[in-house]
Amino acid sequence: MGCISQSQLLQQQRRFRSTWISVAVGLGLSLSQLACQHQHSSDRLTVASAGRIASLDPAQANTYGTLQLLSALGDTLYTREQDNSLKPQLAAEQPQISDGGRTVTIPLRRDVLFHDGTRFDAEAMAFSLNRFLRIGIQSYVVGDRIEAIETPASDVLRLRLSRPSSSLESLLTSPYLTPISPTAYANHKDRFLNDRFIGTGPYKLISFRATQQRLVPFKRYWGAPPSNAGLDMINLSNSTALFGALRSGEVDVLLSESIDEDQRLALDRRADQGLLLESSGPALQIGYITFLSNAPPLLSKQVRQALVHSLDRSLISTRVSHGQRQPLRSLIPPSLQGGRQEPWPIYSPDRTRTLLRQAGYCQGQPLELPLTYRSNVPSDRLMALTWQAQLSRDLPDCIRLRLEGVESTTVYGYLGKGAFKAVMLDWGGSYPDPEAYLAPLLSCTQAKGDICEAGEAVISGSFWTRPGLEKALRRSDSLKGAERLEQLLAIDTMAAEGAAYLPVWLVTPKAWAQTHLAPLEFNGSGQLRLARLREKR
């Protein structure tokens, strides 16, 4: 290339560069202008949570986000308050129990309308319950308890039970059982209606997308109207986006599930500095390890007991969650009846060593144990890594953990087939009652000695039971008050002695909000009261 041609090109380049600089400056200025528009244009509030909402049908709901949304769009017969008391919502008063606990009569409010303008009555409630029992994916939570649903009057619902059930009251607080309009769901009696919801709640749905829902106050709501002008619910796909959206002021309220531990901690710190509001509900989600108890090496109770002594929960809690996940030594969350006791033993490496020696391990023959964790749950992976490191520090000659990360869907698919010797899982009851924690982990319908062959214990992957345990579970559900508490303690103690499960931690639901809002409130079921979100006065 000659000199002249080069200078021509250089000239062109200069022109080109100056054009680009002008474009970049213009773009920057435009963005700055746009940034000024990034404020709330209305008094509606934006609430963010994780994950898509695939369906709004209560018969199909199974995620935290969906249940939270349903709690704003619908009502339940009763609600559980933070002090654990049962408060009538669509019911006019407390349930009346008769016939030795086999009949539950529920007087209903007469002033309730569905969002489509039709009246809520006993027939509508029966329609909703029957539909859930028929097609609900979580219908097992009711099980065989309800034999018949009767409507003796338009404002009276009667449930005939197959056995007395003290957990039924809590079950009636579940969003799964929120009533839906029989008129609106006439064509969906036996199939799901995913993109609409016609209930009785304080909000009405006006637009639905899997990642975005718009709610407006229902003007003919029977109760106190919502304290805000409406809600825009958004669902983001990851923790970083949720965290960033709250920090940037893009959203007003952030619900905590699926927020990574480091980001939770950062939000907590901002709340401590007064830059955010923070509120927490009752901790109702437990993290635990299931041991496969029908095959060696964990067929031996002694080995299982050794393992339950080997977990340093305080260390795990500190290292994994900066102390935010409280150590747990019971299958029942402490906020529920019977959850205050702690029958699982505390961390004791000496006891572990002794038990393992008795079982023929240590002394050059360590227990090789594969521990499976859900690879798509970061806290599970951290827990597994920390426990592995803790064991190689404290009991290097006795236990060697081999970690295996498996994706959630595969874990749940193979859990009941006995594929995992030890697996880290979590569980949140479908309603706030000890029954919703004990039965799904311990119930067994067919057993041979201490090995469960059919039932929830198989589905849970432990295959463990004990003679008398199923009877004790049934009995606890038929008792009330101190008698029930005593029975629950006995069951929890039996489970601790059996050592087929190892409770690890407790997860507290949290929500954060911008400081222009009034303090947030949770109900006793761990759901944020969305209708009470409001600007600070």
Binding site: M1, L34, H38, E250, I459
Partner: protein, 339 residues
Amino acid sequence: MARGRELLRYGATRLALAPVMLWLISSLVFLLLRVAPGDPVDAVLGSRAPADAKAQIREQLGLAMPLSDQYFDFINRLIHGDLGTALINQEPVRHIIADALPASLELSITALILAAVSGLAVGFSGIARPEGKLDLAGRFYGIGTYALPPFWVAMLLQLLFAVILGWLPVGGRFPPSLVPPSGSGFLILDSILSGDWVALNGAVRHLALPACTLGLLLSGVFTNALRLNLRRALRSDYVEAARSRGLSESQVVLRHALPNALLPVLTIAGITVASLIGGALLIEVTFSWPGIALRLQESINQRDYPVVQGIVVVIAALVVMISVFVDLLVASLDPRVRY
């Protein structure tokens, strides 16, 4: 005329082979999904559902049939244009694709335009002085942007522009306080067609960060491709011939070397847009962009066979169509191309 017929024949042959390719891909996806661990019924009902309920839903969804029957049923439906319904919520798969595909296309096309403009500009800027500062910077840019991990860049840009500066939204596709305009599913186009400038502003603001990130990451490919091809073109005989005819250097570059150097870039652009439709997963996840890649990932996690199959078949069809189109375009622009 003869060349036109040749092109037509080539295009027809490629398109005639497309169904075979789609059949192979769909069969492979069908088999791989069935081999993969995890039960879709568990994803629908939960692992704790009663066995009879599971059996009932298995029957309803056709999962109780022998695998061969399931396969022939799937292929039969596919031939008739029926992609089936999602196992999770019984939504027709074509609705799911119609909802998610425009989001991915909008993102991909915008990112491609940004990548092409910025990448080609950087590639072109160093051509006057090979091995000069600008050329070296262009080379560094080309390699650097190509090598950067997408999720890391995405999170950094998200942190800077959304969290710290607050200029742009962190994620999502549209402001939650607005109702998206209805129409084609391309929100920018729909906003313009409906004259809703507030919606347009919202859609552009949400698109800006993911599109710029993706554009930045792709631009290096264009930079490198243009640099190499342009330098090769500038050394070729026809360029020397042009120079010897007394044309100015800018005429030589812009009229002779550049069009020839851009032909391979066109092919790269075609391949890139095709791969982006299903491959922008990390960007879609980071920015919560409700596109087809994110939907595909969720459906794989849920073992939602019909959705995964439907999305893969549609993406494959798009890739085939785009590659045929690009081949024909290149052939029509470059008379040297023979088939």
